[in-house]
């Protein structure tokens, strides 16, 4: 066991990068402001890296997301393992060609001659009044893209272990971080530990209803489970951790056990990750569920600026709790 004192997600990710770079000289880091001269990224996730590993391996870049991802792809074709940062998830929109037409497909299109073992770290999350262009959740796009893996940790220990695994993975991984929970402390990871990609975790055990969530929504789901526990509802919370490929085995087992499923994410509900999981579960568990599978996500709208609207946008513990109660009545 690990009894180090709690750390934040920022610290966990920073440690993962330090440890990975120390272990393997092929690991590179690039992105806007990632160097120490620029303070190691706008929140310090890459702090200390360029000082320790040099500015050839840790490169701050111009504001050129296509060039960032392109450079990472090219280096990875030569056996490097670049960790590229796209500062905020909305800015992947200028680099989708590099990510989707190239990083995701080169292995297939080359008939397996080349591959792209890179990680794209990016960040998003409502709550800071950043408005419509800084808080989108675009994981569905990537999950719909063959060749990519998509990971989204909910706590520091998973952040560390998943990032280490993502870096070692031989395929391109989209690694989604959540800004508002960057500073939420959690148990420290065991140095050198790994969390395997594609494996969910049971964040809370329960028997009446299964919540499937990822990233920040896991924390909100746990809050909701706490709330409804007082009403005698026992909720199991499955933390997907990897969104693509998602852990069907664990999710199906939990859904089979409870017979009720609520999918929760911050992305807009329509065509969100929940749609695929619900559609799949409905096929597998047809006739075996106690109630329809429900999905909770953001409304079909851009992220609003005004605080009360922003607060009402993504599912939070209270709204999840309401959905649980209503689903128990279904």
């Amino acid at each position: 066991m690990n009894d180090a004192k709690p750390i934040t997600m920022i610290e966990a990710l920073n440690r993962a990068l330090h440890d990975a770079m120390a272990d393997d000289p092929k690991i590179l880091v690039l992105g806007e402001e990632v160097g120490d001269k620029e303070e190691g990224g706008i929140t310090g996730v890459t702090k200390g890296l360029s000082t320790k590993f040099g500015t050839t391996r840790v490169k701050s870049t111009p504001i050129s997301e296509q060039a960032i991802i392109g450079a990472a792809i090219g280096a990875s074709l030569k056996g490097f393992r670049p960790v590229a940062e796209i500062m905020l998830m909305n800015f992947v929109t200028v680099a989708m060609d590099m990510i989707v037409n190239h990083a995701a497909k080169l292995r297939f299109m080359s008939g397996g001659q080349t591959h792209v073992p890179m990680v794209i770290r990016t960040m998003t999350g409502t709550g800071f009044g950043s408005g419509g262009q800084h808080c989108d959740y675009l994981e569905s796009w990537f999950a719909h893209t063959a060749g990519l893996k998509v990971v989204a940790p909910s706590n520091p220990a998973d952040g560390y272990g998943l990032l280490r695994s993502a870096i070692e993975d031989d395929d391109p991984v989209i690694f989604i971080e959540n800004l508002p929970t960057y500073w939420t402390p959690g148990p420290a990871p065991v140095p050198g530990s790994r969390v395997p990609l594609g494996k969910a975790a049971i964040a809370r055990q329960g028997s009446d209803l299964t919540i499937v969530a990822y990233s920040r929504s896991v924390l909100e789901a746990l809050g909701a489970a706490q709330i409804v526990a007082e009403k005698g509802i026992s909720v199991e919370v499955v933390d997907l951790r990897t969104i693509s490929p998602w852990d069907r085995e664990t999710v199906i087992a939990s859904a089979t056990k409870t017979g009720r499923v609520l999918l929760v994410h911050e992305a807009v509900r329509k065509h969100g990750i929940g749609a695929e999981i619900a559609a799949d579960l409905n096929e597998v568990l047809f006739g075996k569920l106690k109630a329809p599978i429900r999905r909770l996500g953001a409304p079909f709208a851009p992220v609003p600026f005004s605080k009360p609207l922003e607060d009402a946008f993504a599912p939070n513990a209270a709204r999840i709790a309401d959905a649980i109660v209503s689903l128990m009545k279904d």
Partner: protein, 326 residues
């Protein structure tokens, strides 16, 4: 730049009025934020006031601008109403965007403030479209795209300038080179010394001017504006300036060169223009003090009105997504 058109006394006064409005407004935003009364990501334009002021005095109301998150200076200079601005910053229903856009998406078509973007580079492609509309209508109006030095390295810059060049669009690209892109210096983001060099690659006029000098900025802007109105094509103006504050409120700018910053602040262009107006006998300290206190009152009124206004109704969450609700 010796044969640049020069602003006359009245124009200089008007440039100052706009610049000091921007400066006082910025100081008030920061004060409100420090007091915890206003909570928003805020990108201060302090130090860059002269650029839009010396530009906008030659613009028509019908001319349009696209600007960026660091854009209150561009918008106030263009005539964005203070009350709508403050209510929007405060996320109120009475804001220009009903509180739904916020600091990074301030919009006010009546004053020509068509788009504020939070994405680096994205003001430029849209400004081309505004210019294209003017070109089709043949009304002699023009469009302005504001952006930073860092934005000059993103793909949208290139595509926009090239298209404007080949279509001879009535658009002006104002690169406000404040020496930093977030924490990154210009030298770390490009090997070229003057970004205006790039204009030649698009068969377009390009110039680097001291954006903090009202004469230079006014002259360069006027030439570009007349060129655009005459259908003679776009211009890239690199306006050299300096970002007095960190990238956004809360960023102390520890990475900024201390001496360089001290020098820039010592050469604060707004008080410099004030002193010049008095020195040249264009106006007096008394008159300017009255102007400034009048502006201060207008700002206060806008601030108070904003705070007194209601937040938007929760139903607004799904309104304005489409023309008609789903």
């Amino acid at each position: 730049m010796t044969n640049f058109p020069k602003p006359d006394a009245a124009t200089l006064m008007e440039i100052y009025r706009r610049a000091v409005l921007i400066k006082l407004n910025d100081e008030r935003v920061i004060k409100e934020m420090m007091a915890g009364k206003l909570v928003t990501p805020y990108y201060s334009p302090r130090g860059q006031e002269i650029i839009p002021s010396a530009l906008s005095v030659s613009l028509r109301d019908e001319d349009t601008i696209c600007t960026i998150y660091r854009g209150t200076h561009d918008m106030l200079a263009k005539g964005f109403p203070l009350d709508l601005l403050w209510a929007e910053l405060a996320g109120r229903a009475t804001g220009s965007c009903k509180g739904k856009g916020g600091t990074m998406h301030l919009t006010h078509p009546e004053s020509g403030c068509m788009v504020t973007t939070g994405v680096v580079g994205s003001s430029m492609p849209i400004a081309n479209g505004l210019a294209w509309a003017a070109q089709i209508e043949g009304n002699g109006n023009i469009a302005i795209a504001n952006f930073g030095d860092g934005a000059a390295n993103i793909g949208a810059f290139h595509e926009s300038l090239n298209m404007a060049g080949v279509w001879k669009l009535p658009v002006i690209f104002i690169c406000q080179n404040n020496r930093y892109a977030e924490h990154t210096t210009l030298a770390d983001s490009t090997a070229v010394e003057r970004l205006s060099t790039r204009a030649a690659g698009y068969g377009m006029a390009g110039i680097t001017v001291n954006g903090n000098d009202p004469d230079e900025m006014y002259g360069a802007a006027l030439i570009a504006i007349e060129r655009a109105r005459a259908g003679e094509g776009p211009t890239l103006i690199e306006a050299m300036t300096y970002r007095f504050n960190g990238h956004l409120m809360g960023d102390a700018g520890g990475y900024m060169d201390k001496a360089e910053k001290a020098e820039a602040v010592a050469n604060d262009p707004v008080p410099a223009l004030r002193a010049r107006l008095i020195a040249e006998g264009i106006t007096s300290d008394t008159e300017l003090t009255a102007l400034e206190s009048d502006i201060g009152l207008q700002i206060s009124a806008a601030v108070e009105a904003a705070y007194a206004a209601p937040y938007p109704d929760l139903a607004e969450l799904t309104r304005d997504v489409y023309a008609t609700a789903a």
